[in-house]
Symmetry: C2
Subunit: 169 residues, 2 copies
């Protein structure tokens, strides 16, 4: 009886912490949603500080990172692989061709809605399997490099740039 | 046999998860350590962007937040409660009396070293108990408001301001 009870508690906690990580990740997306609704297109065209990245670049950067989560988790391909060059591989370049902020906002909703649906299909155990950027050999030694850790890491990355985007207000 | 195996996996994942959250929290502290070593006192006296918070204020703010983790987790009192008024309750005020950046750096190491020692004493189950800012009644309905969630939240809060402090470079 005691063993069963402990087992149940262990599994309850396991589900709980997946919820905790998902909740923090969604909270950061919601924080960007709020900024996207609050700021004008002109504000997104401005740099966050003199000589620094423009708002539109950081929005595209966060979008491209979220679009990369599905392949990292082995769930699907990217929806907008064309964003990679301009928003991930290269620094902000005012001369670069990029989608408008209106288009980026639209893609942002599509990418996150798709991810949330994917996440609902993952079991607790699946969250603890390796992501696609780590080999089986490396994962055997570093079991923290799992799918759930991607979301912990991405939420913090997003917080980092949200602190910068908030300067556009 | 199958039940025991599942139980063991559940608990292994629980421990792994705590390590993952602690690792992300420590990573954010290390990121601030690097900035503290890299930037001059003059750089910390500057605002992160025109008319925004100064570097020294954000360092004190992050320090005061970390100093508040021990009481939130029911482990100990704050070491530097005097930081609360200038760095948490009030916005950045160039006329306010505050410790020097050298003193803040010293406190930062002391606070985090103490926290890491405390964290080693917490069992996996204790991490999933409520923090002191949530009542027993509320916690029964919202079990994610546990001690571990404080660290998830604080790591993201720190990332947010690290993105701003990085502008001092």
């Amino acid at each position: 009886m005691e063993i069963i009870k402990e087992k149940t508690d262990g599994f309850a906690e396991e589900h709980l912490f997946i919820q905790m990580v998902l909740a923090e990740w969604k909270k950061q997306n919601t924080n960007l949603d709020k900024l996207l609704n609050m700021l004008s297109d002109e504000q997104f065209s401005a740099a966050i500080a003199p000589g620094r990245n423009r708002g539109i670049y950081l929005v595209g950067h966060l979008l491209a990172v979220n679009d990369g989560i599905a392949p990292l988790l082995g769930l699907a391909e990217k929806l907008y692989p064309q964003l990679e060059s301009v928003f991930l591989t290269n620094p902000d370049d005012p001369k670069a061709q990029m989608p408008s902020i209106t288009e980026l906002k639209e893609y942002w909703q599509i990418v996150n809605t798709r991810l949330e649906k994917f996440f609902e299909t993952l079991s607790a155990d699946q969250w603890f399997t390796r992501h696609t950027a780590v080999s089986e050999e490396a994962f055997a030694k570093e079991p923290h490099r799992n799918k759930l850790n991607i979301l912990i890491n991405r939420a913090n990355h997003q917080s980092y740039h949200l602190g910068q985007l908030a300067l556009l207000k």
